[in-house]
Symmetry: C2
Subunit: 450 residues, 2 copies
């Protein structure tokens, strides 16, 4: 079904490019989808990749650059002057892709590009898109769309659409506006195809539509488009003027990136790392959480040291340190994961008191089951009754405390506008390790004299 | 921007439905998007939700049911006979939604529905869709599409499209087939709008297109549609006959569900749980991983017990048990998370030997940094030199072993066609806890005599 890049082909291509024999491959490569060519460029050496992009035709080159990783794209763009970027690349792209392409350039080079775009309308569109902050609806939108006036008849509409379609790659929706460019609704292609040519647009367009303000958060855009199964959504300003449209493919990227970010945070990786990044990049992404773990481990050592008396009176307490720490960590991560997802999907959280009661219920149930099991296993394996009791009671307490911390830390972070996903993974685990040990040894100490 | 459900409105509605005064709300509710009505039904009591779905007009009710959670939908559908489902619901739906709706019914009721559908074409379409296994392209596709014959002229094409459009809600693409229904390409709306009416289709259609076989995996469909920025993708059989099309909104759901599943597995939750599920459902989703943790904890106790000699010779070794266990767990989860994501995106993994070398490099770098820090911190805090050395050496070893286990377990699982995401989270953590302690005490034991 999909394009597959063979290692032998890549090696052969790399060699031929280095020997100046790219010519023989050009026709085959230009015939591929830009996303596939981008995959090839990504796998080639930097120099060969640069050569390939510069040799294929300009329209393809522009689209390939859009598909590339930001880092690699920036490196290849250094080979182009501002004027070349304007004439060879930007003029072949939709406004949103063009804005993405030049957004990462230096201020100076970006100005040079904008000044060299020949179509003043396109330059204005791109300049406008560059204003919107990252991760807003405005930054995701493109300006290319088809709009018709509510006062037109279907006939005029088809005529005007033919003209507008020259500048639009894909027609997903036809927007209906009034004389002041206020968005009123959409005209379905179905209606256009099945209505008499003399019917006024006003009589056949659909008044109901989901739109989004340019300042809206990208995550909200993704949630809305998913909820209403939208393929394209119009973007308006605060008064309702039609500014542009967001297509679902850009939103799919947002959804995937967010999911990846959450997954990474839960796994203790700070940055977006790929398995083919360099050793140093991967190390940097991992080290912060490891340092938190290290610090937590030292704190845990201090806690146990504090209870050295209990430990020397009942030395086998040391045996169950890993169990207490692991269970606290696991329960904390489970609780926080559920809350983080509820917060992300903006689903109704119910009131916090109810949430608390339910979490206590779940923790109590899990705690009692685990506590009974550990007493049984402990006695069966021949550990002292006092030790088994200490471990079981501590386990119930640790599971309950860990569940509450896992629930509340993300809620509190969210309230202070900090990404609650930060709370999952190593952070919660480390916190629960320390607290769990404190609880364990306190209970052990209390039971010693009995 | 989006619809917001106010608690007061819900309470008021619930009360009015129970008092038989739904009538007053009907008009407002029917005016909402089906996804919004589904949200209301989800929040109401089961009885009120059933009443609401049955009272709104049939077309809306059918769409609302499609938007609902599977469980709730099944409960509400018990109120309908097979004949009612066929006449009131299925006939108002696209084939893919209709297939989803009746897929969960009992065999008997499903047959009753199929036998009662009046349009034999629709019944045949739905019956065909029910054949495809879950999570394949076939199960995701719908049969509604617009297709034209390559031998037609643009004029005839527009005429035929008008007819076909009657049965198609949204027109995303126009497919071009030959006389045997073999898919040849697509006709862009732009071409249709900008070409003379007498041009033969053969001369203007686009030969290049991405299609997918009905047996393909849903995950592959999602990857392909994302890579090529597709809004809709045609589905073909092994010979290339056009069977249907998949729209991106269904794929977005697949992407989100997969991301959620991975996140849950990494967080130690087995099932898809929501924060508003019952205490028992949440407990069931959590307990399996907790039991693994419990078992791991008991194993860890046995390992430490095995080294009781070393522990009584150097009792402060107990202080650093949590540190060793936590670091092993953290490193293991980090390594596995990177591999799991690389496997999921099917990105070129490079050869396994290179991967191994890189992982060893990263682990060594992290290990040495953490080892040096722990020696410094340990000495500063006044722990014995021998203890600091033991902890530091063990830390380097544990980090390296944990990284290798985190890397290899997912690769091995993947090779045996088991979801590698299973390997992340509690599983890797527990394994590394036990191994890490074994390494720690072995090193401690070896250093005792020095």
């Amino acid at each position: 079904m999909s394009f597959e890049l063979k290692p032998e082909y890549l090696e052969n291509l790399e060699e031929d490019i280095q020997n100046g024999k790219l010519e023989a491959h050009l026709e085959t490569i230009e015939d591929l989808h830009p996303a596939d060519i981008a995959e090839i460029v990504d796998q080639l050496s930097l120099d060969s990749g640069k050569t390939l992009v510069q040799e294929i035709n300009e329209e393809k080159a522009a689209e390939v650059l859009v598909e590339l990783d930001e880092d690699l794209r920036a490196k290849i763009l250094t080979e182009y002057s501002g004027q070349e970027i304007a004439h060879e690349l930007v003029e072949n792209l939709d406004s949103d892709d063009a804005a993405d392409l030049i957004n990462e350039l230096s201020d100076e080079k970006r100005r040079e590009v904008l000044n060299n775009i020949e179509d003043p309308g396109q330059a204005k569109d791109i300049a406008e898109l560059l204003i919107y902050p990252e991760n807003t609806a405005g930054a995701l939108m493109g300006k290319e769309l088809i709009k018709v006036n509510k006062n037109w008849k279907v006939m005029q509409c088809v005529k005007e659409m033919r003209q507008q379609a020259e500048n639009v790659e894909h027609v997903h929706a036809i927007y209906v506006v009034d004389d002041h460019n206020i968005l009123l609704g959409t005209l379905s292609l179905k209606k256009l195809l099945t209505t008499s040519l003399k019917t006024p647009i006003e009589e056949v367009y659909n008044h109901k539509l989901q739109s989004v303000e340019a300042s809206a958060d990208a995550e909200d855009v993704a949630n809305t488009m998913q909820k209403y199964d939208l393929v394209v959504m119009p973007v308006v300003d605060a008064i309702g003027h039609l500014l542009g449209r967001i297509t679902i493919d850009d939103v799919v990227d947002v959804i995937r990136e967010e999911a990846k970010e959450d997954y990474n945070l839960a796994s203790g990786l700070t940055d977006e790392v790929e398995s083919d990044d360099s050793i140093w990049v991967i190390t940097k992404a991992r080290l912060p959480w490891l340092l938190i773990g290290l610090f937590g481990g030292i704190m845990a050592a201090r806690v146990i040291g504090h209870f050295e008396g209990a430990l020397s009176a009942l030395p086998k307490m040391a045996f169950f340190i890993p169990l207490i720490a692991a269970m606290g960590g696991n329960v904390g991560v489970q609780s926080s994961a559920i809350v983080v997802q509820a917060l992300a999907s903006k689903s109704v959280m119910g009131n916090v008191a109810n949430r608390l009661l339910k979490e206590i219920g779940v923790a109590l149930l899990n705690g009692v089951i685990c506590g009974v099991l550990i007493i049984g296993a402990g006695l069966f394996l021949g550990y002292e009754v006092k030790l088994c009791l200490t471990v079981a009671i501590a386990l119930v307490a640790v599971i309950m405390v860990a569940a509450l911390i896992g629930t509340f830390v993300p809620i509190i972070l969210d309230r202070y506008k900090i990404d609650p996903a930060l709370a999952t993974g190593p952070f919660i685990t480390t916190m629960n390790d320390i607290l769990g040990l404190f609880i364990y040894f306190t209970i052990g100490y209390a039971l010693l004299d009995i």
